[in-house]
Symmetry: C2
Amino acid sequence: MTEKLGILALGHGSKLPYNKDVVTGVAELIGKQNSDVVVRTGFMNMNNPTMQEGLDSFAGTGVSTIVAVPIFLAHGVHTTEDIPQILGVSRESRKTTVQIDGNDVTLVYSEPLGADELVARLAFKRAQEAIKE
Amino acid sequence: MTEKLGILALGHGSKLPYNKDVVTGVAELIGKQNSDVVVRTGFMNMNNPTMQEGLDSFAGTGVSTIVAVPIFLAHGVHTTEDIPQILGVSRESRKTTVQIDGNDVTLVYSEPLGADELVARLAFKRAQEAIKE
């Protein structure tokens, strides 16, 4: 079977539109940067699609592996407890198997964004933009 | 007067150590990437330094402008209401003046990280790392 990667961008969800807008925008950018990857979104609460709906939306795409990436800056209760419980994974074992179109698909839960040089570069860019405004 | 830039990296704060670790780590990386910039941190709640303590910690640094950058992915109630109120700015007017060492220093409030190509690249990197693990 050909390997085909799916990415499920996981959002926190919010009553305000901003969180969904950012997570959806990041998902679109991942898809543009990696045209061979199938990208979907799923929200923990308050927004749709839910995480389960996000997983279900890989039906018909032929993905063999899905990585669920929390679009969160840092770990917290949501990323260490709530989301792993919904996905059926744990911090000790970040992989499980789900059924998509009746096939076994590997589901892997990744780390959140974290303290990375790319975040630092982006924060500095936001500072420069604010001064120029 | 020579222009000297300060960046106050604003964190949400958390009972768990992860948020403070990430915000502090991002602040250190901004400092490494921009050795002429004075970088400090301030947390909205649950962690120290507080935002006010973070501002006060620019004493003696000679900064002429401080940009407060919310190390948040997206806008929400915290970035649109709580933090601007503490800083004395608004979305309409993101600049104010604060006193540091008895001098007027411009304080500018920036946008959060948002849906940027750098976030998308980082999310994809986290997905790749999770598969290889």
